[in-house]
Subunit: 136 residues, 2 copies
């Protein structure tokens, strides 16, 4: 595990959509765009359903996550990459998605819609490496 800098932590909590890559059964990369937040020193991604990314992580825990964070360094877009190992935990997805919706959709956002709330799955990512263009 590596500890994230304050700048990296702040970027992750600032509502930037993130590209998350997991590994398919054949080892090929599977990428999707997700909301992400911090829980202590770990990153959290949530899903109401048992999607490919969750199934992939149960088989191979290695993931990478990247996001554009706004602004530029040396004239090029700032971005953050976090590599890590992930674990899937049942439950809490609806609570996390509502928490993240405040960052991603706005302070008054209600998400998921009340009739779609269910425990779902959380992916908890322990960072092993941080890279990118910016003050990380």
């Amino acid at each position: 595990m590596v500890e994230l800098s304050d700048a990296a932590r702040s970027a992750i909590e600032d509502g930037h959509p993130a590209s998350l890559t997991t590994l398919n059964p054949d080892g090929s990369p599977q990428t999707t765009v997700v909301w992400v937040g911090m829980d202590g020193d770990q990153l959290v991604v949530a899903s109401l359903d048992d999607r490919s990314k969750m199934r992939n992580v149960r088989r191979d825990s290695r993931v990478s996550l990247s996001m554009l964070t706004g602004g530029t360094t040396h004239g090029l877009d700032n971005y953050l990459v976090v590599e890590g190992t992930a674990e899937v935990i049942e439950g809490g997805a609806d609570i996390w998605l509502q928490h993240l919706a405040h960052h991603y959709l706005g302070p008054d956002a209600v998400f998921p819609p009340p009739d779609q709330r269910r425990p779902g799955y959380r992916m908890v990512i322990t960072p092993t490496k941080v890279r990118g263009n910016g003050p990380w």
Copy 2:
């Protein structure tokens, strides 16, 4: 190979920074943010130096690329994911980076700086699958 829709092709040529994931020697995902364009039915990424992403692709050609494309569908950010197989070709990077700089930095951009121009490497990606949130 799959043929890209006009909407996907247009998004790729619209100057959105892309997350590109290749596979490290140990099979873990390696993600970086790149400029990308279209050359016929293939995607092109260029680098002046022989970076990890280029070395990775020579060993394992499987890649995924994703980008936020602006706007929303069903209230969530539009994004495009292209999975494919990639090949590294020597030369032409400086010409491609200058071409892409017009899309990513502006019509008058000069990039790479004249004193840093060298042939470098192009990664040419043949799409095998297109996914995402949006009109793809």
